[in-house]
């Protein structure tokens, strides 16, 4: 086993393995550029093409991890939920992207 691989393993240790799930990753990526406005539940469901059960449970996991927060909003007098990514969520996503680039060899060239 070469030393670079051992470096990869070592760099993976601080990463939160709970975000290595496609739905969670997609949720964080979709919220990453939406600033304080975030996205409504119905927009995430349609845009990510997720069933309610999958979306709801993964939003809850991310909320418990402190990576996203839920906000109560009103649009045309209808009460809705919107979700925004937190600084903690942004940092975890950035760390994971950096590590994936290393896995892909981009930082080794």
């Amino acid at each position: 086993m070469d030393s670079d691989f051992l470096k990869l393993v070592s760099e993976a240790k601080p990463l939160n393995s709970k975000i290595f799930s496609l739905p969670r990753l997609l949720i964080l990526l979709s919220l990453e550029n939406l600033d304080e406005d975030g996205a409504q539940y119905r927009e995430l469901k349609a845009g990510l093409d997720m069933e309610d059960g999958v979306l709801y449970s993964n939003l809850n996991v991310l909320k418990k991890m402190g990576y996203i927060k839920e906000n109560k909003i009103k649009v045309e007098n209808k009460k809705m939920s919107s979700f925004t990514i937190t600084e903690e969520g942004k940092n975890a996503l950035a760390a994971m992207k950096k590590w994936l680039k290393t896995v892909g060899g981009e930082n080794n060239e």
């Binding site: 550029n33 939406l34 406005d37 996205a39 409504q40 119905r42 349609a46 909003i73 045309e76």
Partner: protein, 178 residues
């Protein structure tokens, strides 16, 4: 002159005094500015497609950086007759900046004007992205977008050909039944 001054002049023209902490007000600004940009008003905000439709990160940043100015509609800029006409067109077509209409119009127009989708493709994508809007709202929003961005001669010809095919099929059916 910064783009934010011109943007505030548009908000003033639209009699819209937003609260930057309000989700709906920011939504209205995002979609209005998107439509203005598509109409050729260059406010220098880049829009990309996200789960919530066309959205500009730079615009949100500027709104927060200039919160007080925006909320008090303080600007050194004013609109000329053409710019006032653009604002009026958006006000009229969106029934006075109604969020649902603005969302549908901005998304549909972005797909047709920026992504070069034809009407059919744009409606399919719009419905995938915003299935929570009623068929009526979508139909009204799409028809209002066509007021802002009238179809080209080629698109009109395509529609005519499509209708001709339907008419021919209908005539053939009528002959068979006679």
């Amino acid at each position: 002159m910064s783009e934010i001054d011109k943007l505030i002049a548009y908000l003033k023209e639209l009699d819209f005094k937003p609260k930057i902490s309000d989700f709906e007000d920011k939504l209205k600004i995002q979609k209005t500015v998107c439509l203005l940009e598509l109409m050729g008003v260059n406010l220098h905000y880049d829009f990309s497609m996200y789960v919530r439709g066309p959205y500009s990160h730079d615009l949100t940043k500027e709104l927060y950086d200039n919160k007080e100015k925006v909320e008090n509609l303080q600007t050194t800029s004013s609109l000329n007759a053409t710019e006032k006409e653009a604002a009026e067109k958006i006000r009229e077509t969106s029934d006075g900046l109604k969020p649902t209409l603005l969302e549908i119009m901005a998304t549909y127009s972005f797909l047709t004007q920026k992504r070069n989708k034809n009407a059919k493709e744009a409606i399919i994508e719009l419905k995938q992205l915003k299935p929570f809007f009623s068929e009526t709202d979508v139909a009204v929003g799409v028809s209002r977008s066509k007021i802002l961005f009238p179809p080209t001669q080629a698109e009109v010809e395509n529609m005519k050909n499509e209708f001709r095919a339907w008419e021919n099929a209908s005539d053939a059916d009528a002959l068979k039944q006679a």
